[in-house]
């Protein structure tokens, strides 16, 4: 930023200088401008070129000392002007030619905006001294007026630059301030995120404990209800008429049902809450576990269960996946057409890096309008008729989702259903 400003100032100074020097171009008196302690010629007017009878290019860049080698006096003057910043002049005689020649040098420092740019040197021969002096005076006067104007212009330009600089500085400061605020804010937000994560983890733990204790505490009175209604029927047995027995039975069944719901809810909550770490899992093992859990039901319902390999390995959470398969097969065992023993077939298909597991049955089937309903919590399409808590498929949904997979069902009412879920394969 600063360098830009400096070069801008320098550019404007040069511009002004060139403006000022244009008056010297037209002057009849030889004039040159030198720069630095070495007095290097930076500018010469045509008159100067004529005097030394040399082309411009050959003079520019030379040290003035080289141009007038025998002239110590001139150089001493230049040094003095350079040092003091005060104009000076000098006349001397040269007797080298036929008629006497007087050389006159006048030098003055050139400032643009109080900055020294160099030294102006005016050279004249005495032969035409007087006329040239007059002309020179005029030029000088013009020059000083010009210079004054230029200085004012420079001052103005400078003032503008300063304002700009000031504004730019303010802008920079504002930017820095904004950046600092942003950093602060970012830090704050990070802190908040960490806090929130900690809170969330704590909340999750609390939720887990809460759900668990609710389920646990609710199951206690249910135990009593179940047991005592049974005992009631035993104790009062003969004294109870059919209606009374029926009532006692309903109490018993309700308690059993509520207990089953709580168990399933606990499982559902478990799947929802706990962190589900995915590892390579052999589907064969999963299927075996699930089927062995349902062994008793399979026997009781006289079901035909087929598990068709090969069974690849998938990326999953083992206990959750066992639960999912168990629930699907269990449903296949439950929702059967009257008089038709359950028929269940399981197999897997691979498509690129996805494994789709199918659980097919020849049971009741599900009408297409209901196919999305069944995955909802507590939804049992036929209510009490086929038992169950209405949580099984919700667990399937939650479980597969948490493992990052997809699931679905294809079914025709009255013919059977094919439930499927997809998981990533594991090489």
């Amino acid at each position: 930023m600063l360098t830009k400003i400096v070069s801008a100032v320098r550019d404007s100074a040069t511009r002004l200088l060139r403006l000022g020097l244009s008056f010297a171009d037209g002057a009849p008196i030889p004039m040159a401008m030198v720069e630095g302690s070495g007095h290097i010629v930076r500018y010469i007017n045509p008159a100067f070129c004529q005097l030394f009878d040399l082309p411009k290019d050959e003079i520019l860049g030379l040290r003035f000392g080289d141009l007038v080698p025998k002239n110590d006096q001139c150089l001493k003057l230049l040094d003095r002007v350079f040092r003091t910043g005060m104009p000076a002049s000098h006349t001397e005689e040269e007797h080298s030619t036929t008629h006497p020649l007087f050389w006159s040098y006048t030098m003055w420092p050139v400032f643009v905006d109080k900055r020294p740019q160099g030294i102006m040197i005016q050279v004249t021969e005495t032969a035409e001294l007087r006329e040239k002096t007059l002309a020179m005076n005029e030029a000088l006067i013009l020059g000083s007026i010009r210079q004054h104007e230029l200085t004012s212009a420079a001052d103005l330009s400078n003032a503008q630059l300063l304002v700009e600089m000031g504004e730019r500085k303010l802008a920079e400061e504002a930017l820095r301030e904004a950046q600092a605020q942003l950093m602060d804010r970012a830090g704050q937000l990070e802190g908040l995120v960490i806090e929130s994560t900690a809170e969330l983890t704590a909340t999750n733990k609390q939720l887990e404990a809460f759900v668990y204790s609710i389920a646990h505490d609710l199951r206690a009175p249910l135990r009593s209800m179940q047991a005592f209604s049974t005992l009631l029927m035993e104790e009062a047995g003969p004294a109870l008429n059919e209606t009374a027995k029926d009532y006692a039975n309903r109490i018993n069944k309700s308690a059993q049902f509520m207990d089953a719901m709580l168990k399933d809810l606990l499982a559902f909550s478990c799947i929802s809450q706990q962190s589900v770490g995915l590892t390579p899992v052999r589907l064969e093992t999963i299927i075996e576990s699930a089927l062995s859990q349902l062994e008793a039901d399979i026997q009781r319902t006289n079901a035909h269960v087929e598990s068709i390999g090969p069974w690849p390995t998938v990326l999953a959470h083992e206990p959750t996946l066992v639960q999912v398969v168990c629930n699907l097969v269990n449903n296949a065992l439950k929702f059967v057409r009257p008089g038709v023993p359950p028929f269940v077939r399981l197999w897997a298909e691979q498509e690129k890096n996805l494994i789709r597991v199918w659980v097919e049955d020849r049971g009741l089937g599900i009408a297409s309008d209901h196919q999305f309903q069944i995955f909802r919590l507590f939804t049992r399409l036929d209510g009490d008729k086929y038992g169950g808590t209405g949580i099984g498929l919700a667990i399937v949904q939650k479980g597969i989702e948490r493992m990052g997979g997809k699931f679905g069902v294809e079914s025709i009412a009255g013919e059977g259903s094919r439930f499927w879920f997809e998981l990533l394969t594991c090489p």
Partner: protein, 158 residues
């Protein structure tokens, strides 16, 4: 009359205690049952404090069936306390609770539980379990526990 082995039931649920009584009856187990309603009382009983000092009336049990979730000092507290008593630490204590959380199971065994059983939800299973316990009591070799001079137990085995 030889002293039969007493079983101490520690449970805050009146219903569960009642059910246990029924189950024991159904399992044809006639061992005397003592009941206390929370951990504080259990410690008082086992330590022979106050009323419980009367070992005729409140004999030291051969087996304790200990619930975990109780007010005023829970099952874990009782376990810790018992295992810290030089004269009681051999006592057989079976955790008998509705909770089956892994952390609870592990903790119970860390604190020296003899076994961990989950209260079944239906009466039939409860009865079967109690019958099993009764059989176990018959065959298990119990250690000697000298609470005080008036030692009222000894019998191990049938």
């Amino acid at each position: 009359m030889s002293q039969k082995q007493t079983i101490l039931l520690v449970d805050d649920s009146e219903n569960d205690l009642a059910l246990m009584r029924v189950a024991f009856k159904k399992a044809h187990c006639s061992l005397p049952l003592q009941e206390v309603r929370n951990g504080e009382e259990a410690i008082a009983y086992l330590g022979g404090e106050g009323l419980y000092g009367d070992r005729e009336k409140f004999p030291l049990p051969t087996l304790v069936l200990l619930d975990l979730n109780m007010p005023r000092r829970d099952g874990f507290d009782v376990l810790s306390w018992v295992r810290a008593q030089p004269f009681l630490k051999r006592l057989s204590i079976i955790v008998w609770t509705a909770s089956a959380r892994k952390v609870d199971i592990d903790r119970a065994f860390d604190l020296g539980a003899t076994s961990f059983l989950v209260k079944p939800t239906n009466l039939e299973t409860l009865t079967a379990m109690v019958a099993c316990l009764a059989e176990w009591i018959k065959v298990n070799q119990f250690p000697s526990i000298n609470a005080d001079k008036a030692n009222l137990y000894s019998r191990t085995g049938a």
